[in-house]
């Protein structure tokens, strides 16, 4: 393939809450699980923050880093399971906020946590087919806004957005191969009209990860079979990271090495960022990647499927590596809040989650 990532951008909520602070209120899990599951802090939305504002911020950073004229973007696809809109595409808002052309194909893609990954490959296919020259893909989610107070997942429910500018001209990483495995399974879901996500199989223990293994293992094996590559051919992997257990299970079942995976798991610092989780790990990898490194991506969408893909860094990454706004810098740039502030900011003490403002 000639298509690749020209630039990427990341947006994280600045507010964070410690798992211990949530535990102080609920005491609904043994705190011993925190170290075992690598639970530490998670993102809290600001009063005016949602999936779209995070997506906009990440996309703005990606466009700025690419140096590309916004008018050259031929497709804008937002991958999210927590769009603020039930019917219309939220991505159309990005057309307006970023000054992108109305002629760009615009859509939302919803496929749980792998929404962004799936969106990326749909846009890559359009570029590869010659339909468009450049595309903008944003993976964004606000799992925290859609997690009920007192639910165990509250300890990790977080938010983030990661944007990618795709094209063929001097990418920093060239997309290489893609495999996917999809079938319906009763993992995390949210039905029409519901605000809060439900856990179909619980939070911890083997059963809680059955969907993960049933999708990630065949997808990963399909990628290796299709390309003839083995795990040893990869420098690093971005893997599912709702909790620290998922990377370990993925690693163990696919035969990946500890140091190919664990340094790029950010669960303890930011929690579960939904559709932005694996892309965030990929962005963290790209922040420090070297030319020639092959990176594997295993993006699991709860109960939906898994996309497995590979990309290879080019010489251009040495020159165009981001100099500021790195993922670790954004992780360290934070304001800690208490439980009550989190409830207020995430609009969990009022009826409608769709109010335009907190101020009227």
């Amino acid at each position: 393939m000639n298509t690749g990532i020209l630039a990427y951008g990341v947006a994280l909520p600045k507010y964070r809450i410690e798992a211990q602070e949530i535990w102080r209120v609920w005491k609904n899990i043994s705190p011993h699980f925190f170290d075992m599951l690598s639970i530490g802090e998670r993102g809290v939305l600001g009063p005016e923050e949602d999936t779209l504002t995070l997506a906009n911020e990440a996309a703005r950073q990606a466009l700025g880093r690419s140096g590309l004229e916004p008018q050259k973007i031929g497709a804008v696809v937002l991958g999210s399971g927590t769009s603020p809109y039930a019917t219309k595409a939220a991505a159309t808002v990005l057309i307006d906020t970023l000054g992108l052309p109305a002629s760009a194909l615009t859509a939302d893609v919803q496929c749980a946590d792998k929404s962004g990954s799936t969106a990326l490959w749909m846009v890559a296919a359009m570029i590869e087919a010659g339909l468009i020259e450049y595309g903008l893909v944003v993976a964004a989610d606000t799992i925290n806004r859609h997690t009920a107070p007192g639910m165990i997942v509250e300890y990790v429910a977080s938010a983030a957005a990661v944007a990618f500018i795709l094209g063929k001209e001097q990418p920093i990483a060239r997309l290489e191969a893609y495999a996917t495995h999809n079938h319906d399974q009763n993992d995390y879901f949210r039905t029409e009209g519901e605000r809060y996500i439900q856990a179909g199989a619980g939070f911890y223990g083997w059963v809680a990860n059955w969907g993960l293994l049933d999708h990630v293992v065949p997808a990963g094996q399909a990628l290796f079979a299709q390309t003839g590559l083995t795990p040893a051919d990869f420098a690093k992997f971005a893997v599912p990271q709702k909790t620290g257990v998922r990377p370990l299970m993925t690693m163990g079942k696919l035969g990946l090495d500890v140091m190919q995976v664990l340094p790029y798991v950010l669960t303890h610092q930011i929690g579960d960022c939904g559709a932005a989780g694996v892309p965030l790990s990929l962005a963290h990898i790209l922040d420090f990647a070297e030319p020639g490194e092959r990176i594997g991506v295993l993006d699991y969408g709860a109960g939906a499927g898994c996309d497995a893909w590979s990309l290879v860094c080019t010489e251009a990454i040495s020159e165009r590596r981001p100099q500021s706004g790195l993922v670790i810098e954004q992780l360290e740039d934070k304001i800690m809040v208490d439980y009550a502030t989190m409830l207020k900011f995430e609009q969990k003490m009022i009826q409608s989650p769709h109010r335009l403002s907190n101020f009227y």
Binding site: D35, I39, P247
Partner: protein
Amino acid sequence: MPSIRDVVMNLPNIFKAEKAKGWNRVILLDLGGEEPSKWTLTIQDGVLTVEEGQTKPPKLIITGNSEHIVQMFTGEVPPMKLVNAKLIKMQGPMMDAIAFSGLWNIPKKEEKNT
């Protein structure tokens, strides 16, 4: 057997810097046994620095007897054997504890004998 000071001060020489890019952590060795001491290991931007005492708030705390840490880093006893026997304990995120074990070029026992 080398002293704990010799072993800890040698850690930058067996540190896999390329594996630690973007993995910034502060790790405390809080040791008892024959040579009770505390050591702060700071990994920042792929560089490991070692300081005696507790100089920063750690994210991962490793406790045990100094002689077991010496055995671990000199390859006398595999790290997992020491952890499983609870001779070395790690307090902090499990993923960090596992990743920590992968950061070192620890000589294998067979290599030492050749």
